[in-house]
C-alpha cells in the first residue's frame, strides 16, 4: 500500500554519497536503507527490468521436515508489490526490521514447491509471540519463487521461527503424486542483530530501469524455482510464445496412459516458474475443436511447476493452439517484476 512514501528529497538525502562500490559490508550505512531505499526508477518498462538496487540475504537455516526441505532466509525490510483487483499492482512500503523469506523444496529432485498450501509463520521470543502471519507468495529476481514478508521484531536477540507448510493441494505428477500432501512444521533459531543484518550485501545498480534481470543467486546452497529448459521438458514441444514478457512453452507428453498438455510459463532472463496464474487452452484443427478448457496448476519432478490437463486426442503438427491467460500471476513481486506479467494477451500459436 502506498501510504506515505518518503519524499524524493528525503530518500536522496538518505543515500547521498553512497557510491555503489562503497556499500558492501559497510553496516553503518545500511541502517539507513530501511528508511531510504533508492527511489523506484521512473518510466519503468512494462517488462522485467533491472531494479534500483539488489540485496543479498542471510541464511537462517535449512531444516528437513518430513518429505520437504525448508529454508529460512532474511534481508532488509523492503518494498514489494501485491496484486490488486483488475490486474494492477499495489505497492507495499517497507516497514519492520527484516524481510523474512521461506522456501520449500523437494530434496531429491531439487524442485521448489510453489503455492497452494497456506504456509504460515510464527515468530516467538522467550515463549512470547512476536509476530504471526501468512506470508505472501513472492517472486524476486535473485531468488525466484518464495514466501516472504516484512516483519517487526523486538530488537537484537534470539527468536524462534516456526514454519507450518500446510499440505500442497495442486496436482502432482510422477513421483510427486503421493507426496507433499500433509502439512509439515519446522522450527528455526534465529540470532538476529541489526549489525549482522547490516552485513548483508546492498548495491545500487547503474543500469536500473533497463530491461533485463539480475542473475539468480548462486551461493546460497539451495535450489531455485527455475523451470526446465525447453529441451528438458518431457514430451514434445508443441510451440513457444510470449505474452506480457513471459515465455510460454507448450508440450504434449504422456501421463498415466493419456495425452497430457503441459504449459510452462516462465520469466524471461532467469526462467523462473510463474505460479498463481489461471490458464485456458484451445486446440483446433481446421474446423474441429480438439480441446477447449481450463488447465490446472501442477508440479512434477521433471516438468517442474506448470499448468496442465489430459486431452483425449493427440495434438498434431499444424494444429492451432491458443493459450488464454484468464488471470496473470497473482504472486507478489519484488522490484523489477511489478510491471511485467500484468497485461497478458492470448497467445495464438501453430503446433510445430
Amino acid at each position: 500500500m502506498d501510504r506515505t512514501p518518503p519524499t524524493r528529497r528525503a530518500v536522496l538525502g538518505g543515500i547521498a554519497g553512497l557510491g555503489t562500490a562503497s556499500l558492501a559490508g559497510c553496516s553503518g550505512l545500511f541502517e539507513r536503507q530501511s528508511v531510504g531505499n533508492p527511489p523506484v526508477v521512473e518510466d519503468r518498462p512494462n517488462a522485467v527490468y533491472y531494479p534500483s538496487h539488489i540485496e543479498g540475504m542471510g541464511m537462517i537455516g535449512t531444516e528437513q521436515a518430513g518429505d520437504r526441505t525448508i529454508g529460512l532466509m532474511y534481508s532488509y525490510a523492503h518494498r514489494f508489490w501485491t496484486m490488486n483487483v483488475g490486474g494492477t499492482t499495489e505497492r507495499v512500503s517497507p516497514s519492520g526490521d527484516a524481510h523474512l523469506m521461506v522456501s520449500v523444496w523437494d530434496g531429491e529432485s531439487g524442485r521448489v514447491l510453489p503455492i497452494r498450501s497456506g504456509l504460515s509463520v510464527t515468530i516467538e521470543q522467550d515463549g512470547e509471540e512476536v509476530d504471526s502471519r501468512t506470508p505472501w507468495t513472492m517472486l524476486s529476481q535473485n531468488m525466484g519463487f518464495h514466501y516472504g514478508d516484512n516483519v517487526g521484531l523486538d530488537g537484537d536477540g534470539t527468536y524462534t521461527v516456526t514454519v507450518e507448510t500446510g499440505g500442497l493441494s495442486i496436482d502432482r505428477l510422477g513421483e510427486f503424486t503421493d507426496r507433499f500432501g500433509d502439512p509439515v512444521t519446522a522450527e528455526f533459531e534465529w540470532e538476529f542483530s541489526q549489525s549482522a543484518r547490516g552485513e548483508i550485501m546492498f548495491r545500487q545498480l547503474d543500469n536500473a530501469g533497463e530491461t533485463g534481470a539480475v542473475s539468480p543467486m548462486s551461493d546460497m546452497m539451495m535450489p531455485l524455482s527455475i523451470a526446465p529448459a525447453e529441451g528438458d521438458m518431457p514430451g514434445r514441444v508443441l510451440a513457444t510464445g510470449e505474452s506480457g514478457d513471459a515465455t510460454f512453452v507448450a508440450t504434449a507428453g504422456e501421463r498415466e496412459g493419456s495425452q497430457y498438455l503441459a504449459i510452462s510459463p516462465r520469466t524471461p532472463h532467469n526462467r523462473y516458474v510463474l505460479p498463481q496464474m489461471a490458464l485456458s487452452a484451445t486446440v483446433t484443427r481446421g474446423d474441429e475443436t480438439v480441446f477447449d478448457g481450463p488447465l490446472s496448476p501442477a508440479i512434477g519432478p521433471r516438468r517442474g511447476y506448470h499448468y496442465g490437463t489430459t486431452i483425449d486426442s493427440n495434438v498434431e503438427s499444424g494444429d492451432d493452439l491458443t493459450i488464454t491467460v484468464d488471470s496473470p500471476p497473482q504472486i507478489s513481486r519484488h522490484e523489477g517484476y511489478e510491471t511485467a506479467f500484468l497485461s497478458m494477451p492470448d497467445l495464438s500459436l501453430t503446433v510445430e
Binding site: M1, G86, T134, D149, G152, G166, G167, D326
Partner: protein, 420 residues
Amino acid sequence: MPPTERGVSRREFVKAAVAIGGSAALSACLDRESPDLPTGEPASVPARQHVWNEALPRDDHGNVRNARHHVVVLLEYAGTGTPSATDRETVTDAFESLERAYPWSNEGLLFTVGYSPAYFARYDDDLAGVDLPSPEALAPFEDPTLDEPDAIVHLASDYGSVALAAEEALLGERTTLNGVDVTGLDAVFDRADRRTGFVGAGLPADNQDVEGIPDDDPVDEDAPLYMGFKSGFTKNQATEDAVTIGDGPFAGGTTQHLSKIQLHLDQWYDQDSRSQRVAKMFCPAHAAEDRVEGVGENLGDGSQLGECPAHVDEDARTNGMVGHSQKSARARDENDDPLILRRDFDSTDGGEAGLHFLSIQASIADFVDTRDAMNGTDVSEDSSVGTRLNNGILQYMTVQRRGNYLVPPRAMRALPRPNP
C-alpha cells in the same frame, strides 16, 4: 476511584474488566457502570433458549444488533457417573436465578446453555434426534485444539458488569445479583475455561492495543469488528426459526459451534489497500465499483452480493481474488437462505486480537457446509487464488480451538439425558 481509571475510557475499562474477570474486576466494573435495571421474570423468557432477536435492538436498516459484551464459560461436570436429580435441581435453580435477577434483553442478560458430545457420552443411550459430532479441523491448513468440556454457557449483555456478575453468580462467588438472592451451580460444575469479548461500534477501536493489530490505531471508530466492516446483515443471517431443531426430543433446541480465531491484521491494515480489503471481505466487484462506504453502513440490510458475479469461480479465474462474503454466501438452504446465525464477537483474550466465532444452526453439518464454502477449496482449485492468499480473509486468521454443542430447549437446559 481505582487507579486504573485514569486515562481509560469507560468502555475500555469495562472491556478490560470482562477480560480479567474475577471479583476484583467486577467490583471495579460496578463502581463505574451501575445500570439501574429492573429485575427479571422467568415466565417471560422464551421456551427456545436461542430466541434472542426480539429482545435485541435493531439498527436503522433493521439488522439485529447483538449485545455488546459477552462471556462464555466452559464447564466440566464435577461428579462421577451420570448427573443426579439433586444436580439437576441445583442447575435449574442457578439458571432461574439469572432470569429472576435481570430482564431478558440486551440491557439485562441473554444467555444460552449447551452440552457437548463429551457430556452425552457418559450415558449408555445415544443422543436422540440430533447429530452432534465431536469437533474436528475444518480446513487442511488448520490444526485447532478441540474443546470438549461438558457444558457451555454464553452470557451476553450491553453491560460488561452484568455478564461478569452473572458468571460469578453461576460459579457461586456471589449470593445476590441486581438485589436478588441467587444460587450457583458450583456444586455440580467446575469452570474449565472462559472466553470474553465484545462487538459493536466503537468497542474494537477502543480495544485495539493488542497483538495482531498495527500500533497506529487503524481500526475505524465506527467498526463493530476488528476487520473494519459490519457483518451480521439480516440477509446474511439465518432466522431463529430456521436454526431451530424441528423434530425429536430436542425440538425447539439448536446446535452451537464455537471457535476461537486468532487474527493477524498487520498485513490487512499495513499492506492491503482499502480496495483490497473490500475485495477480500465482500467481492472484487464491490472494490472495483467502490460500493462500500466506511464500515459498510450504506449496504443496508445485506452485503449486496447480488452485485457480485453470480459465479465465484469466474472471479477466481479472472480476478485471482474472491471475497469472504461472496464465498460464504454459497452455503444456502433450498429457499436460498443462509444456514447459520452468527453471534460472534471480538476478543482481547490472551492479549491477542481474536474472534470468538459463535454460531447457531439446526445441525452442525450446516456449520461445516458454511465453513467449506468459506474455505473456497473448490474455488482455488483451477484458479489463481491461493489456499489462503487472495482467498477471502483466510490469510488473516488462525483457528485455534473448535467445539460443538447442543443447546436444548429451555425446559431441558439442566443436565439433559440423551433420550429424554
